[in-house]
């Protein structure tokens, strides 16, 4: 585990401010109950579960929040939004992080690995929704 420094307050606040502005969510309301991670159907495949991504954002840890695969696996099923006792919508935070990452020129690595024959037989909505995630 890498060492995380929490002593550069101004930079940390700048990242938190940006995520809150982008997502429209007030992340100070999150008290880390973990309902979002528990209800998330793709938690098992995420390097960092949703609640921890939000914690890293609260702490201003841009690198930790943006380098995990979590935001790319989120499909906006809204289980987290439906279960959050503080009425936050983590899927908005995920989209905000995706867009911020894309603007830095960092996308998901997996895009080129579309399964063989997928585009011929798959529902269009899958392709449209899948690529929509990549709009900064």
């Amino acid at each position: 585990m890498m060492k995380i420094s929490l002593d550069t307050i101004s930079e940390q606040n700048a990242f938190l401010d940006q995520v809150e502005r982008e997502s429209g969510e007030d992340l100070s309301r999150c008290y880390q109950c973990g309902n979002c991670s528990g209800s998330c159907p793709v938690s098992f495949a995420m390097e960092i579960p949703v609640s921890q991504v939000i914690r890293f954002v609260q702490l201003g840890q841009e690198r930790m929040a943006l380098q995990a695969n979590s935001m790319w696996l989120c499909v906006s099923c809204l289980q987290c939004q439906a279960r959050c006792p503080k009425c936050l919508d983590p899927s908005k935070v995920m989209e905000a992080l995706r867009r911020m990452s894309l603007r830095q020129g960092k996308g998901p690595v997996a895009l080129a690995q579309v399964p063989d024959g997928f585009l011929e037989r798959s529902p269009q909505q899958a392709v449209v929704a899948g690529f929509r995630k990549l709009i900064p």
Partner: protein, 349 residues
Amino acid sequence: MTSIPYYPGCTLNTVAKPFDLSARRSLKLLGIELAELAQWNCCGASFPLTPNNIIGLTGPTNVLIQSQKAGGTVSTLCSFCYNTLRRTNQVIKEDEGRRTVINDFLGTSYEGDVEVVHLLEVLRDRLGFSELKKRVTRNLKKLKVGAYYGCTLLRPKSAAIDGGETTRIFEEFLEAIGCEAIEFPNRGECCGSHLAMSNEEVVVRLSGAVVASAQAFGAELVTTTCPLCFYNLERSQKAQGSDTLLATRSEAVSDPLHGDWLSRPRQCLSPSGRGQTPRADAGKGVSPPMREEGDQTPGATLPVLYFTQLLGLALGLPEEELGLGENLIDPRPVLRAKGIVREQLVASS
């Protein structure tokens, strides 16, 4: 014959043609014409979540404007379209800032007053399920059907069908057409959605859990309103080697709450998501209480039908008109075993 404006969306016009055709033909028998919008475009499939992601709202807004021209109501069949149109309408209605930007961009003055309805709501509210029951001409013999809602019909609550996660509208529809509705735990769980494009194994696991859950509660078929759920539920049963699938699905049965990920070493998938292996202890655990002798065992394939294919069957439409043969997992053996479709029809097709 009454008429209702209808927005098919991109998928129903192409790979989900049986969904579209079975709906039009069934509704015609019920005296309702689905009048396709004169002009329409893709709704964008996924709703743009962040407040300043405005460009993604212009597509669905344009569909809503076309619907307004067609009479102020629009019906959809696809869960994605339903979700996107309803949420966009909500934004236009409630958020003056975004409404102004979108209208300025499109050169319109739309206020969000179109009513977006799902075909299930049309059947319940315009025709009535009790009236639908009277129109049934083919006995579906209490076929045990799992109603799979998926995510986008149920969430968010503010744009959901019939109040969201506690609804029984799909089950009531199934009961009206003579099926036994199976309410199973994963009826509102995610199928994996568009991860079919980038992380197939995640979809196999999630859809496998849905199929296993439905089977464990006794479903002989599962039905859906979403072409992507349909695709994922079918493909997840065909895509993998049966061993892997069995392991994944047994695990889902014994562990419906997504596994014990807190207590085991986290399986970090690489961004490409390759290399996932089923757990060694998969299959251990107890079966759900409702499971009885003679129910389908997990591991047997479970046919997936669009709800309009079932509707068409109940209304007596010939199976060729419903596209049953185009389903990846042929539902006709199950229907034949129940005596719902005749032997010779199956043999001749």
